[in-house]
């Protein structure tokens, strides 16, 4: 158990050093960390046994919020874009969640899907606001008022993302250890008992849903400025499916799992594009099935086993 924090710290240090060894990895890893945030949000809900097939919407909301503030309003400083994007996506999560957390199982999944497809269709149709299928472009933002070259900004963005990963990851960890977070797993184990204990499943889930939307918003904002372009496809349902896939691939046990899954996928993607670009989905699909069949705790479960973490009392498997 003690080995785990060391492994996590080593992993983070490795991430920080990776671009020095291979500069082209920086962009790949920035996007991977961004998607990891969204996958972490999905993983939170998975702990409660709820599968969302619409979480790419909140990723898109974060990205569009950042793009909108930067282009339409003209406030283009990353340290303002990020909180704004997170606030907007958290608010969206609160509103949508207030309706959706009453539902369970397949109905929860499908309602999320429906809402996200409404968002997708609106983003591609409302040309005057969202730029339609062309999307919105973001110029390189300033950083605390300093205007940077694209290359400098990308480097700064990467290290900001890593700091966010550590800070937000620790906060989410605290949340999961808190009574509110413990209640989340209890929704999955036995919802009736939870309500008999006097804990409202609805507010427990609404808190989790809002947090998960905010996490997806962080990812969306990072991805938007890293890529410099926001598209409606960010909200398409297959993207939501990929987020769930990423979370499960990495493992939903801890904070690190979704990031491990996301980085793993992006790295493999970078390699696979050269050899088998047209078989990419095939590879991911087979990998997903293999993980579900053989590694119910995900890739991070492997790391944990190596570190001597044995038992999570069944709460970290699907």
């Amino acid at each position: 158990m003690r080995a785990l924090p060391l492994i996590l710290a080593a992993g983070l240090a490795l991430l920080a050093l990776a671009p020095l060894a291979a500069p082209y990895l920086q962009f790949v890893l920035t996007v991977a960390v961004a998607k990891g945030f969204a996958a972490l949000g999905v993983a939170l809900l998975l702990r409660a046994g709820l599968i969302s097939l619409g979480h790419a919407m909140f990723f898109a909301v974060g990205a569009y919020a950042a793009a909108f503030l930067a282009q339409a309003v003209g406030i283009n400083d990353f340290l303002l874009l990020l909180p704004f994007a997170v606030a907007v996506s958290a608010l969206a999560g609160l509103l949508v969640g207030a309706f959706l957390v009453r539902y369970r199982a397949i109905f929860f999944a499908m309602l999320n899907l429906a809402v996200s497809m409404v968002a997708y269709a609106l983003a591609s149709k409302l040309y005057s606001i969202t730029g339609g299928t062309d999307g919105l472009r973001i110029d390189v933002p300033t950083l605390m008022g300093m205007s940077l070259e694209k290359a400098q900004f990308d480097q700064a963005l990467y290290y900001i993302s890593l700091v966010l990963l550590a800070v937000v990851g620790w906060l989410v960890h605290r949340y999961l250890k808190s009574p509110l977070g413990q209640a989340l797993a209890a929704v999955h184990t036995n919802e009736v008992r939870l309500e008999y204990l006097g804990v409202s499943a609805w507010s427990t889930l609404l808190a989790a849903y809002t947090i998960s939307a905010a996490l997806a918003g962080i990812g969306g904002a990072i991805a938007a400025v890293a890529i410099g372009h926001v598209l409606p496809e960010y909200a398409f349902w297959t993207e939501s499916g990929h987020l769930v896939l990423t979370a499960v691939l990495g493992g939903i046990a801890g904070i690190a799992g979704p990031f491990v899954g996301s980085i793993f996928l992006e790295l493999i993607h970078t390699v696979a594009v050269g050899y088998a670009a047209e078989a990419w989905n095939l590879i991911v699909g087979v990998a997903l099935l293999a993980v579900i069949f053989f590694l119910p705790r995900g890739l991070f479960g492997l790391i944990e086993s190596a570190a001597g973490v044995k038992d999570h009392r069944g709460e970290t498997e699907l």
Binding site: L46, G49, I51, L53, F99, R102, Y103, R104, A105, I106, F107, A109, M110, L111, L113, A114, V115, M117, V118, A121, L122, S124, K125, L126, E191, V192, E195, A201, F236, W237, T238, G241, V244, L245, V248, E278, A279, W280, N281, L282, V284, G285, V286, L288, L289, I292, F293, L318
Partner: protein, 299 residues
Amino acid sequence: MLQTLIPLFVDALANAALIFFVAVGLTLVFSVLRILNVAHGSLYSIGAYVAASVGLWIVAAGLPAWLTFPALVLSAAFTALLFGPVIERTLIRWTYGKSEAVQVLVTFGLFLILEDLQRMVFGVQSIYADTPMALLGISEIGGIVYLNYQLALIGLAVAVLIGLRLFIRRSRTGKLLAAVVADREVSQAMGIDTNKMFMIAFTLGVLLAALGGAMATPTTGVAPGLGADTMVLAFAVAAIGGLGQVEGAAVASVIVAVAKVLAIYYAPALDAVAPYLVMLAVLLVRPYGLFGAGATRRI
């Protein structure tokens, strides 16, 4: 206004017919297996690709053009027999009794695999095989021109709906399926081979999806991404009607198609949003769909 709306509604009903095939397959599989098959849309597009390829081959080989009609149905049957039993036997059967999250993920994995397999086998170019539509020609009623193929589609959808009803109510296999839907354990205890029923239901679901795809090819053609688009539409229709409700799927596909037409007429920007808005509105009021009975929540 009626003069402009009537052709639009015929168009809508023809679309409804196509959506109905897919959605009823999805809903049928869900009612018997209790699994929402996320790869259902891919089976629709595979059916479409097979039908289009066979149709083009028939024309290229100089065979009689009327052969393209039976070819549509036979392609769907071929797709169903090729994929249905294999997928149910291996992937789907493994997920029985697992959580919904696992079931959705396994079928999503299958969706990803099938999407790429289609690209490898059929390429990324759009395929058009409109011989059947050209053969049937047009007819003029009250000064309005209709595509006969669209009228035929509507007729076929009604026939499939009645056929399914009769199959479930009257035939022995259909009654056994209904028994499995009503109570899986009791029917197993009564000696019904539930595994066989699951395979039959799943293959029938694939057949309906592939039939929808095959029937769609003469009007729209096939291109990559069709499966993903169809999937959400089928979800929406099946959910509006109530998952597991055959008649519900029929009514819902008409509602969705009409909503789309009204959106195109009154608010063109909203036409793509219409199906999902209807779905949201219905599900927020009736979470189990218009016709779904559904168990109430445990608390």
